[in-house]
């Protein structure tokens, strides 16, 4: 038994060093901009770059729209499938697994081919259309996570009873979903939202191929042209991802309070 624990520590320490060393190295590298001693110059350089502000703002905006569209599409679907159309379930599961199997580059290539300016729905014909297409692409990328988060959330509340109780009180379907179901699965929905945000914020492939001024292509561009700023940006990205994941953790602590008891 003691030996068991010894090996556990060995494995853990090996793993920990693999994961921590790059972070330390990147941080150290990001401080090396000024010759001879450590400084935060690279961070100052990043933050003062108007392109950083513009692309980051753009990605945040697209991220928020992706989250909203995702919720509007997924929540009613999961609700009705749970409540009345359980036979659609395997189909939903399959649908939401596809984005994990089909690479993003293939999706976006398909979009470009299918929705080009000479097609029936010319998304890529205008800047606004392309923004919308980018948002939908991100909704697709995040679909597996949004779906699972919402589905888990609805499993912990008794959708059937809540719906019947609301119907007896005279609520209509839209009121039930927006005022009863959604507040009860808020924690789950927000967890999905933060995960979506983490995925979207630095996404490169789709934004780049759709030629949108997003944060991901900006990062790549900096990486190709600067020396120390990329390291600073890597640290900043890591902190943003950590923040989004940390929010999910914090939210998780509130989960039991908002979920109904089934016993």
């Amino acid at each position: 038994m003691k030996q068991n624990r010894f090996w556990a520590w060995v494995v853990f320490l090996l793993g920990a060093s693999y994961f921590i060393v790059p972070l330390v190295a990147t941080f150290e590298f990001s401080l090396r901009m000024r010759r001879g001693y450590y400084s935060f110059d690279s961070y100052a350089s990043v933050f003062s770059d108007p392109n950083f502000q513009a692309t980051f703002g753009y990605s945040v905006l697209i991220g928020i729209f992706s989250i909203l569209v995702g919720i509007v599409i997924v929540v009613p679907a999961v609700y009705f499938v749970r409540l009345r159309l359980p036979w659609l379930r395997p189909f939903m599961e399959f649908f939401t697994l596809l984005p994990l199997i089909i690479p993003a580059i293939i999706l976006v290539y398909g979009y470009i081919r299918l929705y080009n300016s000479s097609s029936i729905i010319p998304f890529t014909g205008s800047a606004l259309g392309t923004d919308i297409l980018l948002t939908f692409a991100y909704v697709t990328l995040a679909l597996p996570y949004t779906y699972r988060a919402v589905d888990t959330g609805m499993r912990t509340i008794d959708v059937q009873t809540l719906t019947e109780a609301a119907q007896i009180a005279g609520a209509n379907t839209i009121q039930i979903i927006s005022q009863i179901i959604l507040p009860n699965i808020l924690v789950a929905v927000l967890s999905g939202a933060f995960l979506t945000f983490a995925i979207v914020i630095g996404e490169f492939t789709i934004a780049s191929l759709l030629n949108r001024p997003a944060f991901g292509p900006y990062l790549q561009n900096i990486g190709a042209n600067r020396a120390y700023e990329p390291a600073a940006l890597a640290i900043i990205s890591f902190i943003i991802t950590w923040g989004a994941m940390g929010m999910i953790n914090v939210l998780g602590r509130f989960a039991p309070r908002t979920s109904a008891r089934t016993d």
Partner: protein, 289 residues
């Protein structure tokens, strides 16, 4: 919309709720993929042809597929084994409980820390001027690059990919390990089994389907990944997604059929990995409900 008791109207309401999801899935998942893959069989003048598929069989494209498969294969198998070892260590190795939740949170972060920033981090670590490279040279007298290492190579990319592959494995396999009941190992021990015999006959066989499923997911994850590789190397490394990226960016209009064929090849290989998983897990899961 009012509350209605008409079952017919309720029926249509249900479909109205599900319809956006279905339409969205068709428009942004199924149709683009099918359209693209269908395009692999359509020639320049709209005729049915296998020329595009045959066009894949050049040395450059075959080499690209081969290195992509190797990187995806190595990073998924090594990632799965390392992730399994770490997950077992934190769950079954009786490490302090706070360590476990810290690792799970970190895994959530690191599994999403893919793409361009990850490439930056590894350039700063194992690039020519990276910290580890420099320390290896100045402290241990080992010149990694002279010894044949290159971040822009099979091993360099594999090591970089492991940074998101291992945490993903930990996240997916941890619930399966939690599902291993303490009583199973106790029952095995009371029947005279050594710990390795428990793992050989009980523990690992039970984890095997989840393990395989995760490997195929990790494979797809690495096989389609482009941002990390692109961030590391620009378009200089010849892996399939980068080839496809260049094709879309550069001469998509000159030979769209070849791009579609490249994409078809990627989907076929990912699907093949999943089929292998399905076949093996069907056989391994005959004891499951």
């Amino acid at each position: 919309m009012s509350t209605t008791t008409s079952s017919r109207r309720r029926f249509s309401l249900e479909f109205l709720g599900v319809a956006p999801f279905i339409i969205f899935g068709l428009m942004f998942l199924v149709l683009p993929t099918l359209y693209l893959l269908g395009g692999a069989f359509i020639g320049r003048d709209g005729e049915l042809t296998f020329d595009n598929i045959l066009g894949l069989f050049t040395d450059q494209i075959m080499a690209a597929y081969w290195i992509s498969i190797r990187i995806a294969g190595a990073s998924s198998i090594i990632g799965a084994l390392a992730g399994l070892a770490i997950a077992l260590a934190i769950i079954r190795g009786r490490l302090p409980a706070p360590l476990r939740s810290a690792i799970m949170t970190f895994s959530g972060v690191a599994s999403n820390f893919a793409g361009v920033p990850l490439a930056f981090a590894f350039i700063a670590t194992l690039g020519r001027l990276g910290l580890v490279t420099i320390i290896a040279k100045t402290v241990f007298g080992l010149d990694l690059y002279r010894a044949g290492f290159n971040l822009l190579s099979f091993w360099g990319l594999t090591i970089t990919y492991l940074y998101f592959q291992i945490p993903l494995m930990i996240l997916i396999i941890a619930p399966a390990i939690d599902g291993l009941k303490k009583e199973w190992s106790e029952a095995a021990a009371s029947l005279g089994a050594q710990p390795w015999q428990f793992w050989r006959y009980i523990g690992l066989p039970i984890l095997w389907p989840s393990f395989l499923g995760t490997v195929s997911l990790l494979f797809a994850n690495a096989f389609g990944a482009i941002a990390t590789a692109y961030g590391l190397t620009g378009s200089s490394l010849n892996i399939v997604p980068i080839l496809l990226y260049a094709q879309i960016r550069g001469d998509a209009l000159q030979n769209p059929g070849l791009g579609a064929a490249l994409a078809l090849g990627m989907v076929v290989i990912t699907a093949f990995a999943n089929i292998i998983y399905l076949v093996i897990s069907q056989r391994a899961e005959r004891w499951m409900k």
